[in-house]
């Protein structure tokens, strides 16, 4: 399918604005700046050079130096005042909302805050998106990890894992990532001898050592856990909220109930989520998940009833 009109129009105006400010620029540099091939830039400059004011006589058109064109350089000699246009509401909010999510997750470099200020300054009126932190990452934790990533140093962290175990680990941090509003560090964990994606809000303390990072960053994305089995759960509508948060869940309304199907990586973790909506549960399948739920419920009953 051909490229859509507005992305191309945006780039066409971007090329004119860029050339106005920077002067003659090679196709290669424009291609890198606008994330397209040199061939596409050549076509774009071709399109620009036949566009202009109604009449479309030579003096009405955007004008380029054609001997430069033949040498792979865009050299604009007449722009007719064409220039990049302001951000639309959606574009502006898409950018500021995502920046805010990075900041809220505690995984943003200092430049994110100044960029956010500048973008908001360029918006017409209020920013209609509010981003609230998902959890509280200690600022000193993200600061220390940023430092370790920047200087490529090993860090020692104390970490509470998803099973509530407190561990001390030596990690080689590669990248800070925001996934669904929560901050993580992608790293090589020396304790596990493997790549890990650790939640920042589960770290109590981080110490940056002098030891250099040696493991190369992983190519894989953070979450590569493979579901072990598929589960089906039916709940009364009031229990829907807990199922919505399960990764990869499909929800269907069946009368007054909601049916959820999803892959289970860790039955104990899912059992913990299901306990929160136990009064609304109607059906839980398969047996392995039923077992995990029953074990967890019995343990809670024993502890609580004393």
């Amino acid at each position: 399918m051909a490229e859509k009109a507005l992305p191309r129009l945006t780039r066409l105006l971007g090329i004119v604005t860029y050339l106005e400010q920077q002067g003659p620029t090679s196709f290669a540099v424009l291609a890198e700046r606008f994330g397209v091939s040199e061939d596409q830039i050549r076509k774009d400059v071709g399109t620009l050079s036949v566009s202009g004011l109604p009449g479309y006589m030579p003096d009405d058109l955007l004008d380029f130096d054609f001997s430069a064109f033949d040498h792979g350089v865009a050299s604009l000699t007449e722009s007719h005042g064409v220039s990049q246009v302001r951000l639309s509401a959606r574009e502006a909010v898409a950018l500021t909302g995502a920046l805010s999510a990075l900041v809220a997750a505690g995984t943003a470099p200092a430049a994110a805050l100044t960029a956010l200020d500048k973008l908001r300054g360029a918006m017409d009126g209020n920013d209609p998106m509010v981003v609230l932190p998902a959890s509280s990452t200690k600022p000193e934790v993200s600061q220390a990890l940023l430092d370790a990533v920047a200087r490529r140093r090993v860090a020692t962290v104390t970490y509470v894992d998803a099973h509530d175990r407190l561990t001390e680990r030596e990690i080689e941090p590669h990248r800070l990532v925001t996934i669904d509003g929560i901050g993580y560090v992608e790293c090589f964990c020396r304790r596990a001898g493997d790549y890990r994606t650790l939640r920042l809000d589960r770290m109590n303390a981080v110490t940056v050592t002098d030891e250099p990072v040696v493991a190369a960053p992983s190519d894989a994305d953070g979450f590569t856990l493979v579901p072990r089995f598929d589960a089906r759960v039916v709940v009364a509508r009031s229990g829907r909220w807990a199922l919505e948060e399960l990764p990869g869940v499909a929800l269907d309304e069946v009368g007054d109930d909601v049916e959820a199907t999803f892959g289970v990586t860790n039955a104990h973790w899912v059992a913990g989520r299901l306990l929160a909506i136990a009064p609304y549960l109607r059906v839980v399948e398969p047996e392995e998940l039923v077992q995990a739920l029953g074990d967890a419920a019995k343990a809670v009953e024993t502890a609580q009833a004393g």
């Binding site: 400010q21 620029t25 566009s51 995502a98 470099p109 509010v130 509530d164 925001t178 019995k298």
Partner: protein, 325 residues
């Protein structure tokens, strides 16, 4: 005439409407702007009617596209010419203000733009990035050790942002926890991301009250109703709309040694009682503590308040009913 690329037609339209001194009539646009089919007198009446309608559709769509893209086309009427409507783009409406980003700022915006990938807003983010990048001086690209993405982005979000910006009411099908799927008509005030989940905060017209909607529960398309500028959102939203209904207090929780680290880090150690450590934990809503204690599967129990302890037990027994059934 071979149809030219739509981007080229839009570019010519923007240039023409920006340069026209007063306004351009539709007929002038059709006759002179490259990319539209001019009237052809040699055509049969039927054929030219078809062409007229095609031009009207194309021009209406172009106007909408440009407006959504950030460039409002103003309509200009002229008393001397009766009902004729003309069009013009004021450069002051359209031009990108100088934002003056540093290379590091542009690089972090590039990271942020990836957040919405896979959702409708992803295309908007990339386009916004190209717009702001047009102004930034060339430099070696800055490679940042950051990444961002969401798995929760909803296609409805883009339409709701637009409606909130234009102050236009919306109508959609909504699956609520209490009343099933119903149609709602809402004045969208703000969008909110909390814990990676997207919400709409606004006034529900049928219930005549402010409500918070989970965007993931909106089914199908978000339809705009009424005209833009039809309501005024409050400047400050009530706290409870942002944080959810609260019932704050503190709980006394007993934890096994080496367990409940998340609760420990938010709470305050009180004393030890045999194998249990007693920790006092503040909460915004007691349900959150209940769910955490349940998830600890026996490594924690609630000591106080008694209602919370009873609720934990009740949940465990409800689960046992299902697993035995």
């Amino acid at each position: 005439m071979a149809a030219i690329d739509p981007a080229e037609r839009l570019l010519n339209l923007v240039i023409a409407l920006t340069h026209t001194r007063v306004r351009m009539l539709r007929s002038e646009i059709r006759a002179t702007v490259q990319g539209y089919d001019p009237v052809d007198p040699s055509m049969s009446e039927e054929e030219s009617k078809k062409r007229d309608a095609a031009f009207e559709r194309m021009f209406e769509r172009d106007k909408d596209d440009l407006r959504r893209w950030g460039v409002p086309i103003r309509t200009v009427t002229d008393a001397a010419h009766g009902d004729d409507i003309g069009y013009k783009i004021h450069s002051s409406d359209a031009i990108m203000p100088a934002i003056d980003l540093t290379p590091a700022e542009l690089a972090v915006i590039g990271v942020a733009a990836e957040y919405w990938q896979g959702a409708v807003l992803g295309a908007d983010a990339r386009q916004g990035l190209v717009k702001v990048a047009s102004q930034v001086t060339h430099h070696a690209s800055v490679d940042l050790p950051f990444a961002a993405r969401t798995t929760a982005a909803q296609d409805a979000t883009a339409a709701l942002i637009e409606a909130a910006h234009d102050r236009q009411a919306v109508r959609f099908e909504y699956a609520s926890a209490t009343s099933g799927t119903t149609q709602r008509t809402v004045e969208p005030w703000r969008l909110m991301i909390r814990g990676g989940t997207e919400y709409l905060v606004g006034r529900d017209r049928d219930r005549d009250a402010p409500r918070t909607f989970r965007i993931g529960r909106i089914h199908g398309a978000v339809k705009k109703v009424g005209s833009p500028g039809s309501f005024e959102p409050p400047e400050v939203l009530p706290d409870t709309m942002l944080t959810g209904p609260g019932d704050p207090g503190t709980a006394l929780v007993a934890l096994r040694a080496e367990a409940g680290h998340a609760l420990r880090s938010r709470g305050e150690f009180v004393s030890s009682d045999g194998d249990w450590d007693l920790v006092r934990v503040p909460f915004h809503h007691p349900d959150a503590v209940r769910d955490e204690v349940l998830a600890l599967a026996g490594a924690a129990r609630v000591v106080e308040p008694p209602e919370l302890a009873a609720s934990v037990l009740e949940h465990a027994r409800a689960a046992l009913k299902v697993t035995h059934g």
